[in-house]
């Protein structure tokens, strides 16, 4: 699962605005996450966490402002693209786990796609079910295939949108362990979470959003606990 060790990469938001008609989903969001940090985005539903992550994942373009990845080497353009795990699995239900990973590996020009897909399946513990259609997977397994897909191109930055949703305690432990391992290997992690959990213990940084604005940041003195639980700056 280890990311490419060549370029530890950070994430920088500069004055990001996102407007939908008259609605500001995000307003002048500016902060930077250093390479290797494990950051948590906190906030109520509708605070803009998902929008910000989708912008970071380059799925959505900001209305204004700039997104950059300081530290990524120019030639590894494929690797500099972050891995994104969203609310949906973003894989095909009617294909098997193996077929899905092969598809995304081939599209992203991953070296030795077959071997890479196999390795990832083993690492997320889906190797036995590699020939099963994703449609038959449980919620926990779906999360695992989603993560495998996000990691297929060895990204240096991994984005996760409420990854613990719907997971049982075993699933959450597995997720926490996997993220810990990734973080140790130098991957920059940004995830949105609700409240405290086994996963939030990994965080070295936290930012809270409310109505599209950054209202608290551990970098400017707020405590991690406060950000996760109470939302006061």
């Amino acid at each position: 699962m280890a990311p490419s060790k060549l370029s530890p990469t950070g994430l920088r938001f500069e004055s990001i605005d996102k407007r939908y008609g008259g609605l500001f989903a995000l307003r002048r969001v500016s902060f930077e996450i250093a390479a290797g940090e494990c950051a948590v985005l906190a906030g109520r539903n509708g605070s803009g966490k998902t929008t910000l992550l989708r912008i970071a994942g380059q799925i959505v373009r900001p209305t204004a402002g700039k997104l950059s990845f300081p530290g990524s080497s120019a030639d590894s353009s494929a690797n500099s693209r972050p891995g994104y795990v969203g609310h949906s699995t973003m894989v095909y239900d009617e294909l098997t786990a193996e077929e899905n990973l092969l598809l995304f590996a081939r599209l992203q020009k991953v070296e030795s796609p077959v071997a890479r897909a196999e390795d990832l399946l083993r690492e997320v513990g889906l190797y036995e079910r590699r020939a099963s259609l994703v449609r038959t997977f449980s919620r926990g397994m779906r999360q695992r295939i989603a993560i495998a897909r996000a990691l297929i191109h060895r990204p240096s930055v991994l984005l996760l949108d409420e990854p613990a949703t719907g997971l049982d305690p075993l699933g959450i432990t597995w997720l926490a362990n996997s993220l810990r391992e990734l973080s140790r290997a130098g991957c920059t992690i940004v995830m949105s979470l609700h409240g405290e959990s086994e996963i939030s213990t990994l965080a070295t940084r936290a930012v809270r959003l409310d109505a599209g604005i950054v209202i608290a940041d551990t970098q400017t003195g707020a405590s991690l606990r406060d950000i996760l639980m109470f939302g006061a700056a």
């Binding site: 973003m90 095909y92 009617e94 598809l103 995304f104 081939r106």
Partner: protein
């Protein structure tokens, strides 16, 4: 070239998905069959009339079937937000369209070829004499339908009432394909079959115009 390799990978995904379930193919074949039969009930043509009106009805049936068959095209990418993962994975968004339109053309063509013997029997038309030209016309017409249909399917998937919207957007747009394909097909079934080169060239032009438009504007159709 990355566009072609990505298209090939995506095309194999589209084909694999469809041939695993064969839902689209079977429903489309049955639909065209039903429409053709209903047409003949409504008109009850004589043999001579069949030869004259049959092709027009065939193409009309193909158009109706296609406007239904093309709906899942982008809708099914909304299921698990796979459209986002595809967009992230490919360097050129046109490869997504190219793969889908090639797949859709193949599905349509396959459906038409399956339908052809039934059509020949019910409407008493001699399809064998110029079968190679007939297949060419079917191919060019189906390609035109697929190109326009795939593009519009990306639009209608983002609107409400998409089941009604796609036919509404697509059918007027495909008038040239209907007119020309039907005319060329009729002349292929005459006692002295005539090959209307001008018509075939026109269909090719239609295909090129919309392929180019899709190439130029496709990425905006997928924007979020």
């Amino acid at each position: 070239m990355s566009l072609f390799s990505n298209t090939a990978v995506l095309l194999s995904k589209e084909l694999r998905t469809e041939f695993r379930s064969r839902e689209l193919l079977t429903t489309t074949v049955v639909f065209i069959l039903v429409v053709l039969i209903l047409f003949s009930f409504a008109i009850s043509p004589t043999t001579e009339e069949s030869r004259e009106f049959g092709p027009g009805l065939l193409w009309l049936a193909i158009l109706f079937a296609a406007s239904l068959m093309l709906q899942p095209c982008f809708l099914r990418e909304q299921n698990n937000d796979t459209l986002s993962s595809l967009r992230l994975a490919v360097s050129d968004p046109f490869s997504i369209f190219l793969a889908k339109l090639i797949a859709n053309t193949l599905f349509l063509l396959l459906t038409e070829l399956i339908m052809l013997p039934f059509f020949a029997i019910f409407y008493n038309v001699p399809i064998l004499p110029e079968i190679h030209w007939l297949v060419l016309v079917l191919f060019l017409g189906s390609l035109g339908i697929s190109v326009a249909g795939t593009a519009l399917s990306a639009i209608s998937a983002q609107a409400r009432m998409r089941e009604l919207l796609l036919p509404l957007l697509l059918l007027p747009l495909l008038t040239p394909v209907l007119v020309v394909s039907a005319t060329v097909t009729v002349s292929l079934f005459e006692r002295e079959p005539i090959v209307k080169g001008k018509g075939i060239a026109f269909l090719a032009v239609f295909d090129v115009v919309f392929l180019t438009a899709l190439w130029l504007f496709g990425e905006y159709l997928l924007e979020e």
